[in-house]
Symmetry: none
Subunit: 197 residues, 4 copies
DNA sequence: CATGAATGAGATTTCATTCAT
DNA sequence: GATGAATGAAATCTCATTCAT
């Protein structure tokens, strides 16, 4: 294995451990020691690959964001019609929360850094831009094909994402009583209905 | 001033300082020292009024929640028709974010505590329940009066709140480029349209 | 009630509360707040009657010592013969531990202050002097009356006190397994036998 | 020096500093800062080797106890006859106080923790058990060999230890006036006489 | 006399970061 | 590259003491 490979593998290992730590202890409640232990490496080596905790966090946030964006890209393109694509988009956005709740929790933890850390804000806002862009493209396509009515693609994509985020939040707060499944169904049809002529 | 007055005024003062600190530094990035400095009191006195930081935070969270709930209750009742009431509900939910962005930021910071602190989770989930209840009542009223179509009141209220929360989040991430005003308008009409026959 | 009476009653009240606190929490683990609460007075008033915590403690130690010394004086004099008197002395020394274990605990807590606080050391050493003096007198009397053999009264009194203290300590460490009653009986007869011709 | 060596040496260093601090300031009147300064290390490193102050104290108490027990074991076995052995036992018990007054002071400081901390109580009571056991064995041997009269070995060992502890306490309280040497002589002969037929 | 709000020093503990090995 | 001992700053919390009322 080349040096670069070792380095990137170590980084991967540390990033994975960090995500685990965040989802286990919360953004602020874990230490570099925790990451080191989880990754099975020494504390020192983390600082060899990452300047400091902030840089590590930024790197993790970017990795997580890219991972989610990749999922969107891959799956949307599998669908053929705009209607199917927007359905996939909505399903995926909901699934992201359910399947990768850890990631979502990680994202949420990062959110609270916005006020404090400009670079974190930028990464998140870019991430939203990217995902919104995917939705926007699908809507645009649907309008052009005559499947959807003429809404503002950017705004409606944003609306879809917002609704899904907000609903998911309520579920996160009240796992036991909140009927997430029913909400997913209802919101999905409502969001799709808003696009239909 | 009587001693009871002093006590409640001092508590108020500390709570206000805490909210300021959270919105300025973030939930985890402020110290009791910061609160003391902001409130213009000594570190010790905070622990005189609040057992520890957690209790202070819980108290603050409850105050903030109650304040927001009060705003909803007060303003919804001013409107007469169900249509007006739901409009007020939506407007208010958006306004809460704009007018009291600090409060919203505070709420967001609390969100990330869910995984770690059960009591925080409970307070927030109860807060959502209360506000959702206000929306639910309005929708129910509208259905009964024949103004709205037969949706599930709980679900639709949740949907409204979710959409507004989620849209606001995107705005918080990207204050400069995100056209919040347009989104508010678009989302409002979309949410109301969903209720109309 | 005169001013002086009020003052001495308040002091008494505070001293009692302090003893309770020491025996409940240990010498170092109680606060002035604890004393205030136990005595049912305000924190401020304690500092009105006692300069500071150290002075309060010194006062308490003296009170406790005087109380114990009084018990010795009173009871020894009830007995008539030297043999009876020394028996009373021994019984009392043991009883002090059993009946007023709190006091004993308090004393022990004070012991550890010897190295640190000269005045505490002096009070305790004076207390030992006094009690030793009582034993010494009895032994002297017994020697003169021909009941006891010629031992050094000071040394033997010290020996008696030491044995009782040391045995009691072992009991305090191991309340459950240590057969204190048997030890009291054995030590008593041993100590008395050492005085007999 | 290997890392393991560094670790055990550092622990040793910290324990020694702690003992010094206890004997200098008393159990409760020293801070982790004091230990750090005395050991010539940073505050942080103490918590690296010991979870917290309590654990440090427990470790120290155990070390001190084991050290004393070791001294007994080693020296008693050097003597041949039961009479010599019991003399060694008594001498040692007195010497422990004189030679290692700091240790004794440390023990005394731990005593006052009994009421508060169960684990401290257990360590001390076990320590007494061990030392008492050594005395008990010697007495048993002496009885079997016909050198001593038939006393209860456990009780008499306890009696010896108690007398020595108690006498030493009085000396600690009044170093200047108390004739410790005379008392050691007198008590020793008295304690041995009690074993002789 | 009496209260208790207020202070501020200091204690324990945590942890990101450094650096000799 | 990798380790983990070591540092030191900072955080929470406690508490004796003061003092305005």
């Amino acid at each position: 294995m080349s040096k670069a490979d070792v380095a990137s593998e170590r980084k991967e290992q540390i990033v994975k451990a960090t995500v685990d730590c965040i989802s286990k202890y919360g953004y602020h409640n874990f230490s570099m020691q925790d990451v080191a232990r989880t990754a099975g490496v020494s504390k020192g080596i983390i600082h060899y690959y990452f300047l400091n905790k902030d840089e590590l966090m930024r790197f993790v946030l970017e990795k997580v964001s890219l991972g989610l964006e990749g999922q969107f890209l891959k799956n949307i393109n599998k669908a053929l019609s705009p209607v199917d694509k927007i359905k996939v988009f909505i399903e995926l956005a909901f699934e992201v929360v359910q399947k990768t709740r850890e990631y979502y929790q990680v994202s949420m933890d990062f959110w609270t850094q916005i006020n404090q850390k400009e670079d974190v804000r930028q990464i998140i806002s870019k991430h939203y831009d990217v995902v919104r862009g995917y939705g926007q493209d699908v809507i645009k396509e649907g309008i052009e094909s005559g499947d959807f009515k003429k809404v503002d693609p950017y705004e409606y994509a944003s609306y879809i994402m917002g609704a899904i985020d907000g609903i998911s939040l309520q579920w996160l707060f009240d796992h036991e009583n909140y009927n997430y499944e029913a909400m997913v169904k209802m919101a999905s049809s409502e969001l799709i209905r808003g696009l239909q002529k």
